[in-house]
């Protein structure tokens, strides 16, 4: 079974802090994704990566950056956390990105981040 793990289930940070959310997958997937999920807004794609050291902006990249130094690990970075970044953050991975049709995504359990 594919396993996607996220470093924390719950995280509380203060405004202005630098925040790192880590995601690790164990199935040698090329593609990894970061979403945020908010009530009434559903899941929105922040960034994705189709290879090591490669990244692409999703629909809402402002205020975030990412890092993918190793194939299995994809980090989401909030350079200076703000209260409007309080949300549930979900990481996902999939086998192929350029294939048609798009592959199934496997999700981690999520990190609920609160910024005070």
């Amino acid at each position: 079974d594919v396993k996607v793990t996220q470093s924390s289930r719950y995280l509380v940070k203060r405004t202005g802090e630098k925040v790192f959310l880590e995601c690790v997958q164990d199935m040698d997937h090329e593609n990894m994704f970061w979403y945020r999920q908010d009530p009434g807004l559903g899941l929105r794609l922040i960034y994705f990566s189709y290879d090591v050291k490669m990244k692409e902006k999703g629909d809402i990249p402002e205020g975030y950056s990412v890092s993918r130094e190793k194939k299995e690990r994809f980090s989401l970075i909030l350079e200076s956390a703000s209260t409007n970044q309080t949300s549930m953050y979900l990481c996902a991975s999939s086998l192929k990105l350029t294939s048609i049709p798009v592959d199934t995504q496997y999700f981690g359990p999520g990190t609920r981040l609160t910024v005070l």
Binding site: E56, A92, L97, T98, I100, P101, V102, Q105, G110, R112
Partner: protein, 113 residues
């Protein structure tokens, strides 16, 4: 970006009843997927239907796709309390030359014993 829209937003039924959720989308797709999310957890893939398929079954799940109406439905038969969760449809779209998934806002299903 296009987004699937699920309908209804919330659905409450009794155990043993069938639950039907609908999804509409805006542009042409290659496939449509359904995911389930238990409260406070990550999403779990349920079923994928390709654009050239009209119906697909998996256990108690039945998915239909009508590309002419740009809509899909998910039917859960003989529902159980354990089916209580949110259900999302997701469609593929092109994003910076790559295909990514766009999720709807979900249908929250409550199955009472």
């Amino acid at each position: 970006s296009q987004q699937g829209e699920e309908d209804p937003q919330a659905l409450s039924i009794q155990e043993g009843e069938n639950a039907t959720m609908n999804c509409s989308y805006k542009t042409s797709i290659n496939n449509l997927q359904w995911y389930r999310q238990n409260s406070g957890r990550g999403l779990v893939h349920l079923i994928l239907i390709r654009s050239n398929e009209r119906e697909k079954h998996s256990g108690r799940l039945r998915v239909t796709l009508d590309t002419s109406k740009k809509s899909s439905s998910l039917l859960i038969t003989a529902s159980r309390a354990a089916d209580t969760a949110s259900y999302f449809c997701a469609t593929d779209e092109e994003n910076s030359g790559y295909s990514t998934l766009t999720f709807g806002k979900g249908t929250m299903l409550l199955v009472s014993p």
